[in-house]
Symmetry: C2
Subunit: 320 residues, 2 copies
């Protein structure tokens, strides 16, 4: 993450984090990094007899953490989520528990964090040599989103951009060409989403597509489109059409372009951090930073109304 995001998160002051089944070495290291940096206070759930020895071996002090002893992963996830739902913490981080176990708890009607929105995965990349952070969605949750789901995926990504201080993010709907080929359903959807943005049905951002990756993010690529795109060359948010596209772009940015990465699940009433084992310690810490910024932002713009209903409600004026 850019230094600026870290400074913003530090300004917010320590936020409260729960960890679902915390007995994972790499997750605990990242949590301790965040604690020592003054970014979080954490509640760890899991079996105490597993947690304490591991914390000891990592040089973590029991006194610095609240520990909630739970018998198994499902209980750990439920308790980690319940504490956020009850207002005792601001966000939940997946530890050793499976993502599906955590999401099951997040979606629970009693103790969960439902906000009547689609949950989607939002990733933020810091690509060496590229002048701005790139926000990408959805590389990890929705497999083949429909047009209506894409609207909500955009909306969730825009909330993250706002949390990062980007007031009116430029959203590129990625495609394999910059013209609308009626034989390419994703390009057709991109055109529809662009028009919805122009009509004010998608707010807080400007959406344009179809755009190829180079046209979206570099002035060189965007130059070809000249004045015919408000996004080309300067995109903040990249919307992919499938989980496969997102995973490919994500992996190639990490592996071949050595990009930094942070990610979380958006659409619940609080941030849900589902870092994977393969993510680096730095990625995990950066994801916590992102969670802090989103948590702070959601205090101001709580997910109260279901955005899709708002978006699709006709607001055509008949009296003009």
């Amino acid at each position: 993450m850019h230094q600026r995001a870290k400074e913003l998160a530090a300004d917010v002051g320590p936020r409260r984090l729960t960890v679902a089944q915390a007995a994972d070495e790499h997750v605990l290291e990242a949590v301790d990094d965040a604690f020592r940096a003054g970014l979080v206070r954490a509640i760890l759930t899991g079996r105490k007899d597993e947690l304490l020895p591991l914390m000891g071996s990592l040089g973590m002090s029991e006194a610095d953490y609240r520990i909630v002893d739970t018998p198994d992963p499902a209980h750990a996830a439920r308790e980690a989520v319940r504490l956020v739902s009850a207002g005792e913490a601001d966000m939940v981080l997946k530890g050793k528990a499976h993502t599906s176990t955590v999401l099951h708890a997040v979606l629970d009607k009693q103790i969960g964090l439902r906000a009547r929105r689609l949950l989607s995965h939002v990733a933020v990349y810091d690509v060496p040599g590229h002048p701005k952070l790139l926000i990408m969605s959805d590389p990890g949750m929705n497999i083949a989103p429909t047009l209506q789901e894409k609207i909500q995926i955009i909306d969730n990504a825009v909330v993250v951009a706002h949390a990062l201080g980007i007031e009116r993010p430029k959203v590129a709907i990625l495609s394999a060409a910059d013209t609308v080929n009626p034989a390419m359903p994703h390009a057709v959807e991109a055109a529809v989403l662009s028009k919805m943005s122009q009509r004010g049905q998608i707010r807080g951002c400007v959406v344009d597509g179809p755009l190829t990756l180079d046209a979206a993010v570099t002035y060189e690529g965007g130059d070809i489109l000249g004045s015919r795109s408000d996004v080309a060359g300067d995109a903040d948010i990249l919307i992919v059409n499938s989980i496969e596209e997102g995973n490919l772009l994500s992996k190639s940015l990490s592996m071949f372009a050595h990009a930094g990465f942070a990610g979380l699940i958006v659409g619940a009433s609080s941030p849900v951090l589902v870092v994977s084992r393969a993510d680096s310690r730095k990625s995990k810490l950066d994801s916590i930073v992102l969670g802090i910024l989103l948590s702070e932002h959601l205090k101001k713009v709580a997910f109260t109304a279901p955005p899709l209903e708002r978006i699709l409600t006709s607001e055509v004026r008949f009296d003009s």
Copy 2:
């Protein structure tokens, strides 16, 4: 392209190339590079009154090239393709003519280069720091290939691998996860293609999938799969599920990982090179190198039988 590919192409000696509507500065530069390197002799089609001044300004000698004067792009493309079809040249390179104009001529029943195979785009990347060339398909032609089309896309990519001297290429069917999620149609298709490979229905290679990009190409990623994949960590060929996936991976490799690139259309009886204006002079030259190697290889293994019929014909033995 790796030095080895260039040496192989130089060993083959000059091959004969036609250029469809050659009056394009960047295409002519690449053709002249190839001519000076002893790789090609070229026949240029197009309006002579356009071509000669441009060649002059680029320092190209009229005496080094055969020029076929044609009135318009369609005639230029037809003539460039006809000369290959008639055995007067070995491959065709798109100049200023549109890709669709060239493909229209390639698919013409009278003068074209049909081989009863699916045409697909095959790209070859030389990624800095990665130890081997990566062959990828299809990033530019088939929008959303069916399972049967994927079989032919694999087959065409395997022919390119063989042309590059890779005897038994490892083919990864890319996905967003390394396990088969029945809710993900592309992962399901990957499993089917793997089994077809194991049954000998896809030949000259070993196919495995679903594989994420990192599991496919790095030992680190592939380590997770241990002995459960013959491809993981060492893939030669990457099969994407859609033109969008291919375009994204291609663009991110070029833009962010600074990869070298060559590409051509495979499945016709001779190589068809459709470089784009945006491709660098080096990419255009490398594509010609690739065309030379494929052309040489096709002399030995001419596309005679339609591979899909061969592949899908039951060879189950009832007498055993």
